[in-house]
């Protein structure tokens, strides 16, 4: 891209000062909300049937970050979640494991232990793939804490063995225009992650406009995000198709400009297989099939998995099994 995204070497330039950063973010092409929503809803009418649906359901399972982020989480509940993550459908070994479990930092050690040795011996493309442990951090979900506290939170998660860290941005700082502060924090967290992958949660429900979603996406990518993620799940609206569309466009443009591939995680409010398949259509037709992999697209969800399993079994048997045939965890 020539004019919409600056020439090589620009990344250092645009982050040299608050002013430069502001100019860059406000110089991005605007987003027309009506148009973005219309595009997302048009793509939602794609009709995905038979083998295409089967492929999509399996891919959605493999992309799921099976999540529990509750104040009343216990080690027992986490162990149950891990068992489900490894083998989502005990009656069908063909069902692939999910991408990761997503937890609070104090549950990471428990999850690492529960998943250890559970390295799945699945055949095919998932052969040997390990279910990852993702930890939220940085004073999730509000992000209202001192930087040192946030970094300590990240340090705890990484020390306990987290493969992935899901941080929240400081939405307050973003909305008053302190972009450099937000960027700085992301960079510190990235450094604290070490080898762990960083997902940056934008909390789009609080950013309110799609222009802000595009700017925050770029800010996170400039800061070194491996993934950009819609929501904590604690604020409504969480993930919406239009928001994910805009994030996918940002990821596509970033790849054009830098060659770097950043992933997208849609989190919160995605409960049905139909919704999940619609998100995969958005991915496929916005950024392309290269992003149809758990390395580049994830669902953050808890109840979605059982609907994926139910639809998967319906596709194979022609009949719906009742909800009691899928485990509650």
């Amino acid at each position: 891209m020539t004019t919409l995204v600056p020439a090589p070497g620009w990344m250092d330039d645009v982050t040299t000062s608050e002013l430069a950063l502001r100019r860059f973010l406000h110089g991005l092409a605007g987003v027309d909300q009506v148009g973005a929503e219309a595009r997302a809803s048009t793509l939602a009418t794609r009709s995905i049937k038979r083998e295409a649906k089967g492929w999509a359901l399996d891919m959605a399972i493999r992309m799921t970050d099976l999540t529990t982020l509750e104040g009343n989480d216990t080690p027992g509940k986490v162990r149950a979640l891990c068992a489900k993550a490894l083998r989502p459908d005990p009656s069908d070994p063909e069902v692939p494991p999910v991408a990761a479990v997503c937890l609070y930092p104090d549950m990471v050690a428990t999850a690492v232990q529960a998943l250890a040795g559970g390295a799945t011996a699945q055949a095919g493309e998932d052969g040997g793939r390990r279910v990852k442990v993702a930890s939220v951090a940085t004073a999730f979900p509000s992000g209202r804490a001192a930087l040192a506290t946030k970094l300590a939170d990240v340090g705890d998660a990484v020390a306990a063995g987290a493969d992935e860290v899901d941080m929240v941005i400081d939405r307050g700082a973003f909305l008053v225009g302190h972009y450099a502060q937000v960027l700085d924090e992301i960079r510190h967290v990235k450094a604290a992650c070490g080898g762990a992958h960083l997902k940056v949660i934008l909390e789009t429900g609080e950013l309110a406009t799609l222009d802000n979603v595009r700017r925050a996406s770029w800010l996170a990518m400039l800061g070194g995000a491996d993934f950009i993620k819609t929501s904590t799940g604690k604020v409504g609206p969480a993930s919406t198709p239009a928001v994910v569309l805009v994030m996918l466009e940002a990821v596509r443009d970033f790849a054009d400009a830098t060659g770097g591939a950043v992933g997208v995680k849609a989190a919160g409010g995605i409960r049905t297989a139909k919704d999940a398949v619609r998100y995969l259509v958005l991915v496929n037709e916005t950024v392309g099939a290269d992003w149809l992999t758990p390395d580049r697209f994830r669902f953050g969800a808890s109840s979605l998995l059982n609907d994926l399993l139910m639809q998967r079994s319906k596709l194979r048997t022609g009949a719906y099994a009742g909800p009691d045939y899928f485990t509650l965890d």
């Binding site: 891209m1 092409a29 027309d32 148009g35 995905i48």
Partner: protein, 496 residues
């Protein structure tokens, strides 16, 4: 990672039952043409013959006009307006109920993607009937005098690009204002109008209020020239429009023409680029570009032209061309071999004139009439592909430097039907809308229609407006204009 291939998702044809032959719809019933003429209608996606359709001759036009006259003077004109509204509401509801059936038939006969006939054409068809049903008993408040009167019998000739929708645009306001109609659908797409005629029977519309005469150009000429017709409403090519105007010059007949276009879709450097790209695609590739208001000239500001084109090309590569009945098809078939030949000819002219043709990799089906999505860059104002209506999926790309230049180029066309403006700057939208000589100006969108919004052109794009309050005017007598035998009940006659 292999590409994710969407499995075929064809809409079922079992919803509809095709007949081997279709008659004319005159005076409430289907009838054979007097001289027995007939022609075939084909599925443009497969060249399969869908059925044989009657060709109306002079005697049939006489019968239809006579039936319409009788219905106007004896039933529809004298009917209380609120009663007319009930019929229109009923027709609208039946259309909604049978919309899947109508959509499948429309896609079969026309070649347009089922996605469009299902999600755009049919909802709008029903919406037009609903909208004008609401006007029927409020005509005194429409701003056309204290006691507006119908014209009488309207001859209505509709094109093949939106067969049912254009029929609805014509029938609904005519019926709401107390006129009766003789509708002539296009030669290549007669079937949905005939199914609509069945729906009119189902709605118990009194015989003769609407008559449907299938046929080719000659049937249209007979209708236009018929003495018993008070009003002609035509949507189609500028060439035919001019000939109609010549034919009825000096007669009492009122005329509205909705003709061709060569709309400019103007993209400024501060546009929401991703949505603008969608708007460009929707502007020219919607309905295979068989749209009179299609955004067939892209005017893009120089300093973003390269970036916009790069995105546009990437987007075009994702368009899915093929079976119109597949729910995932974005681009369907070209409606007829005649139209395909015209598109090919003008595209070849584009090559010869020195413009650069670009088409995405695209597999065309072996049978049927197809043309891939195409864009031409390096186009200048003097090229024929920048001036003539191609009426196909072919976009001519031009650039501009200043807003004044954009306006000058946009207006430098014999046509003036529609235009699009893409910018995040509100003041520029308003300024452009003032400057552009086009009947419709879309801002940050394109090809959006609503029954409440008037539609129509300037210059060689025709005259008269369809839709909304403005659309009533074309079917109401003005001032002391007296219509022969037309009669209408007083608006508020409380005789019940």
């Amino acid at each position: 990672m292999s590409d994710w291939d969407y499995a075929p998702a064809p809409e079922s044809r079992e919803l509809i039952s095709l007949r081997s032959s279709y008659g004319l719809f005159i005076n409430g019933g289907f009838t054979a043409p007097v001289d027995g003429g007939a022609f075939k209608t084909v599925n443009p996606a497969t060249e399969e013959v869908l059925g044989e359709v009657a060709e109306a001759g002079p005697a049939d036009v006489d019968r239809a006009v006579a039936a319409a006259r009788r219905a106007q003077t004896e039933v529809w004109g004298p009917m209380r307006p609120a009663e007319r509204a009930k019929y229109l509401y009923r027709i609208a509801r039946i259309i909604q109920e049978r919309s899947r059936e109508l959509a499948v038939l429309e896609s079969l006969d026309n070649g347009k993607p089922i996605k469009e006939s299902r999600d755009i054409d049919l909802p709008l068809v029903a919406a037009h009937f609903f909208h004008y049903a609401g006007w029927a008993d409020k005509l005194r408040h429409a701003g056309f005098g204290s006691d507006p009167q119908p014209l009488g019998v309207a001859g209505q000739i509709v094109p093949w690009n939106f067969p049912l929708l254009m029929a609805a645009w014509k029938l609904a306001p005519a019926l709401a204002t107390g006129n009766t109609c003789v509708l002539k659908p296009a030669e290549t797409t007669p079937l949905s109008a005939l199914l609509l005629a069945e729906i009119l029977q189902q709605a118990d519309l009194p015989p003769g209020v609407v008559n449907v005469l299938t046929g080719a150009g000659e049937t249209g000429r007979l209708l236009v020239a018929h003495d018993g017709v008070d009003k002609i409403a035509f949507t189609g090519s500028t060439e035919v429009g001019k000939s109609i105007q010549r034919t009825i010059a000096g007669t009492r007949k009122r005329l509205t023409l909705e003709l061709g276009g060569k709309a400019a879709n103007v993209v400024f450097d501060d546009a929401p680029i991703d949505q603008a790209v969608e708007g460009i695609v929707n502007g020219i590739f919607f309905n295979q570009g068989h749209v009179c208001c299609a955004g067939s000239r892209l005017l893009v500001q120089e300093n973003v032209a390269e970036a916009v084109l790069e995105r546009l090309k990437r987007r075009l590569a994702t368009l899915r061309l093929g079976d119109p009945l597949d729910k995932n098809t974005d681009i369907g078939a070209i409606n007829s071999p005649v139209q395909l030949a015209k598109i090919r000819e003008l595209s070849d002219v584009g090559d010869a004139e020195g413009a650069q043709r670009w088409q995405p990799p695209c597999q065309l089906p072996d049978r049927g009439y197809w043309f891939p999505p195409t864009l031409f860059t390096g186009v200048s104002q003097s090229h024929r592909i920048a001036r003539e209506e191609i009426f196909g999926p072919v976009l001519s790309v031009l650039t501009f430097r200043t807003p004044d230049e954009a306006v000058a180029k946009a207006n430098n066309s014999p046509y003036g039907l529609s235009a699009g403006v893409w910018t995040e700057k509100g003041s520029r939208i308003l300024w452009m809308a003032q400057q552009l000589r086009a009947g419709v100006v879309w801002a940050n969108t394109f090809n959006r229609f609503d029954p409440a919004s008037p539609f129509g052109g300037y210059k060689e794009s025709g005259f008269g407006r369809e839709g909304g309050r403005h659309g009533l005017e074309a079917y109401l007598a003005q001032g002391n204009e007296t219509m022969g035998p037309a009669k209408v009940a007083a608006e508020d006659s409380h005789d019940g």
